[in-house]
Point group: D2
Chain length 364, copies 4
């Protein structure tokens, strides 16, 4: 049940970093939904590397080929399947990862779990490359949510522990103001962030950061109690993104009187004055924007020598990780966070049998 | 799919705060596992209210009655079912919650989602009371994990934003040093926390906080890639606990060279010098303690008047929440966090088909 | 994942034959659905033993107590939970079942699977008694289907291999003509069936038979392709009923020209002239009645001596099954088949996101 | 949840008959299992058309390309993905299926369910062609079961209602005696079956039949109670095969004294004298061969004119199905039944946490 997500939809992601192809299947989608392939490609390009200073110069062509489920630009009700063929051949760069694992990566845990049979090249199935098929599924869900007036946007909240963008205005996030390539709310802060990444790169190191995401236009009533709450469902998929180690919703103020969001009824419409709850009460959307923050650790692959060991020799051993790697994965992870959120939300909307079924029962 | 959790085991939680009973079913458990009912009761008592200053004086008897699945003190392979009968009768305290929802609670979202048919008394199915059956399931899983040498402990990390316990020593958490009733590592800090709660109570307010949990004794290799990773599985259940709004694993340091945990092989045993990754690499346990922090918002029920509205009248309206409520839910949530972690971990161990199946294939 | 069923709803059944209680939880049901408790009790009475010649004189009171999920006669959106308390105490009748298993029962397979820890009394979790909670869930689903104009009825198709009721008229099943207590279409045949059961009982033997079930009023388009087809979903739950060993849909004629159901459009309404496909094409309902037949083996518990063995002594051993048992389980299984069908169909209707979602997308 | 199967493994099948490719993903498989690609191809060839008299002369190349999950001939623990590229271009043969549906096919039900957006060419996702990826997954599982000494074989039990092969000797099925191409136990009967198919073909008609399948070498204790029983799990996947309308296990004799399988302990080994229960008691394997029969309707596509209607014109209309179709699908369905059984059994073995976990708890 590892690489599968969803209740009403079923997303299944496959592939290894240096295998023949990576891809995804997405089952349970209604027929008749339009697919904008240009929009999809633009979305994938936001994740692709090699486009700027702060990411690896590796050039991957992330052009998905759709094998099933879409006909003449519309979903046809059958499972959607798409693949991205890998051009990278399995190189010698990763030859000794099974013997001498990279700190901070899944090399060692995979070695034990899979008994040495795992595909270690490029991190195999644990590679960040697997977020590309996640973005295919996410971009589709995002398009279909937009049709319903639901929008998802994210920005870089911090790089390292010293450069911070300002938070979304929680009552009304400025999703439209976000630049695509290095999305921040405060351009000055964005400049400092870029400098921080550049200086980290010069030092042969990497740096982590935080991403903040907002979902607007949600109706009241999405999400289920307990383990099916919006937080639970978003958390399960967000933590499936490599390097994510933290997640929080809204903003907690110390005391109840500060933290509770006062209700405000205006012209029959119910809102809250503040949005510390991040748009979720009891696991269920309250009509305010859903807002959450994702903390990502620094890229573990750094040029500096690190301490590892040799399984074969049974001794400690210094390791220098070869290859070219992102000094900061955060900017490229922004669309991945949006994609994950889109999948979770679209799944919950599909599975929301409360309102629609009362209607079919003639109760509402 | 709301109140159900698990892949290999299936936990289903039912009940409303003021209904006849709350309870749980737990399917998929191997036969022949011993059950220590005294230990279970002690565990439930840690969650029960009315035992001290910092919790509500309501007196609930949380004595589970087992209806199925346990015979002569051992699991019998059939689904386990247990109920706790409610003594609280449905009182008038909550009569107007459907019309005038409490800020910070699920009253409003439930009203919209369930069209007014929800059981509003005491928060209904959204009540923190539902963590009692979670603790039944969790205490059982915790006992069975202990048999395998896996221990779970948690302490109060902070109350409000000003009193902080020190973090677990991440390489070797002092699970044994934790007091049961108000678990902290630093007794002086515990004293300050108690004072903070008391002063909050006096001010007619409530206060939130953080809990830190550690799981020791885990073998390497538990957890699945992507959405089945340890973080994802723990997150899904932890966010099922009312009032949880944040979750983080280990500790992120700003740069890769600081954050990466250097491997250290000693007498053939592989460890890491630090444990910033919180015992998880690529979603899979690496043999170090799994450590995570849970952020809880302040109890939304406070004596102070708050701003709400009347659905019926269509106007804003001030609300005073009646009844007696915990000024701080954090101390009582400590065993709930442990229970949730125990369920998630036990489920992952049950579902770990990698090693055992290679063995059955004669490969290992 | 044993005693759990459903995709959009989650049914979980628990209990052992002689345990404190049996029961069920049913999650995922929309709020606001009415519950007719009298109708429910009447339905359960059809399954109850001790009411006539052909069933065991054991007297069980199957009065469900609802613990959760229903408020003032309506579902409240929270998981529904109900229990039936057992009055039968664990007697010595079954003491040696772990050592000397009954042929045709699960005694031996349970002994091996659960290593002797299983609850053997009365068959434990494998007892036909567990169909009572299935009938609780099924009766609820049946009521809600009836609100939508969907009706489910079943009759005894055969007893043994020699008495056969006529088949449902497949194009328009006479669901209304079925008597409740011993439902047949042809009263003369029913008389012969009763005689067959009585003579079998006199001979100290038991007899099996077949049940035919029809579901009318279904819209076109229920069911999903492949493993989510109506046949697959009904089969999974029907085979969960003890003693079921066969299941078929509609009626297969030898050649395509005979078997294909010709379409017939009349006043804009599309039907088929015959209904050999049993109302299902490609796993999806075609608007004609869904019709299926269930084959049940004879009750394995018979007074005649049978050949078994003693696990402890390691030798063959004759066994005489004590207690009073149904000479024919088929009549009591009729409502169980209806209940199972109701649960499967209601689940599929809840999960049918195709039409409703196209609507919410503004496409239809 | 349509085209997805499995509890411990997750099989997802995608593709449309005339789309770019069909394929499957298979998640949850242990690492280190060997894959024999020649054996896989031979298995797929048994299903492929165009090899003999009784099947369609269409020539499909069913050569799977593995995109993920297998490295150097062994599973690597990551999800397995394989595709078969389609060479058939979308032709005009099927242009009017959306307007004038073929009797016995899913054209009409798909049209209503998917609102006209479905891929109708060649039956789209409902085509029998989708059994090819099922056979990929099934052949892999079959290979891995064979490593454990578990063998699966099937033969043609009947063609039409007049030619019947003899049943498997239920106590010891002669799996090895089955010819590969047109598998029967009695060669004379096989000859008659071939003649029956040939004469049906000459008459411009098609004919159905039955397949019997046996699984030998199973340990006692596989399968879960109620809805997780072996019958339920096999039924769910078998009914996912197009044209299957009936399924039965073992053989039901009329009375309990005839039908019960007497136990027989010989040299410490426990068997039953007969095997009317088809190797399953209480949903759990009893160590005897699992035996079941599958009934398939005649191919609905026949050259004879049939009565349908025109959606657009709103009138009845005669239809002549073009293209070349199997006069009898049964022979080609034999490996598909074996594949489905292999997947279900392998899944249940993976998920059997009872024995292995008692071991890990140190109880056994």
């Amino acid at each position: 049940m590892s690489s599968t997500y969803g209740e009403s939809l079923k997303l299944s992601i496959f592939g290894q970093s240096h295998g023949p192809a990576i891809g995804m299947t997405l089952d349970g989608i209604p027929a008749g939904l339009p697919v904008d392939f240009d929009k999809l490609q633009q979305f994938l390009n936001r994740r692709a590397p090699g486009q700027n200073d702060w990411s690896t110069p590796r050039k991957e062509e992330d052009r998905p080929e759709f094998l099933a489920g879409i006909l003449d630009g519309f979903t046809c009700g059958a499972p959607i399947a798409a693949v991205i063929h890998n051009n990278n051949t399995r190189s010698g760069d990763y030859d000794n990862l099974k013997d001498c694992p990279r700190p901070g990566h899944a090399d060692y845990t995979a070695q034990v779990k899979y008994g040495g049979f795992q595909d270690a090249a490029g991190g195999g199935h644990f590679s960040g490359r697997l977020t590309a098929p996640l973005c295919i599924a996410g971009s589709l869900c995002k398009q279909w949510l937009e049709e319903m007036g639901i929008h998802i946007g994210a920005h870089i909240l911090s790089i390292g522990n010293d450069t911070f963008d300002r938070n979304f205005n929680q009552v009304s996030p400025e999703i439209d103001r976000i630049e695509i390539n290095f999305p921040v709310l405060d351009p000055d802060c964005g400049e400092k962030m870029r400098e921080r990444i550049a200086s980290t790169k010069e030092q042969g190191d990497s740096v982590g950061g935080k991403i903040e995401c907002a979902i607007t236009g949600l109706p009241v009533g999405i999400g289920e109690p307990m383990f099916g709450g919006v937080e639970s469902r978003i958390a399960q998929i967000i933590y499936g993104i490599p390097a994510v180690k933290g997640l929080s919703f809204g903003e907690i103020l110390p005391t109840g009187s500060e933290n509770n969001d006062a209700f405000l009824m205006e012209s029959g419409k119910i809102q809250t004055e503040t949005n510390h709850c991040g748009g979720i009460l009891g696991g269920i959307t309250n009509g305010m924007p859903v807002i959450f923050q994702v903390a990502m650790k620094p890229t573990p692959s750094i040029p500096k020598p690190q301490q590892s060991f040799s399984l074969r020799k049974g001794v400690n051993q210094e390791l220098v990780v070869k290859g070219r790697h992102d000094p900061c994965i955060v900017p490229r992870a922004v669309p991945v966070v949006e994609a994950a959120a889109a999948i979770a939300i679209y799944d919950m909307i599909l599975g929301n049998t409360q309102t629609s079924r009362r209607k079919s029962h003639g109760i509402e």
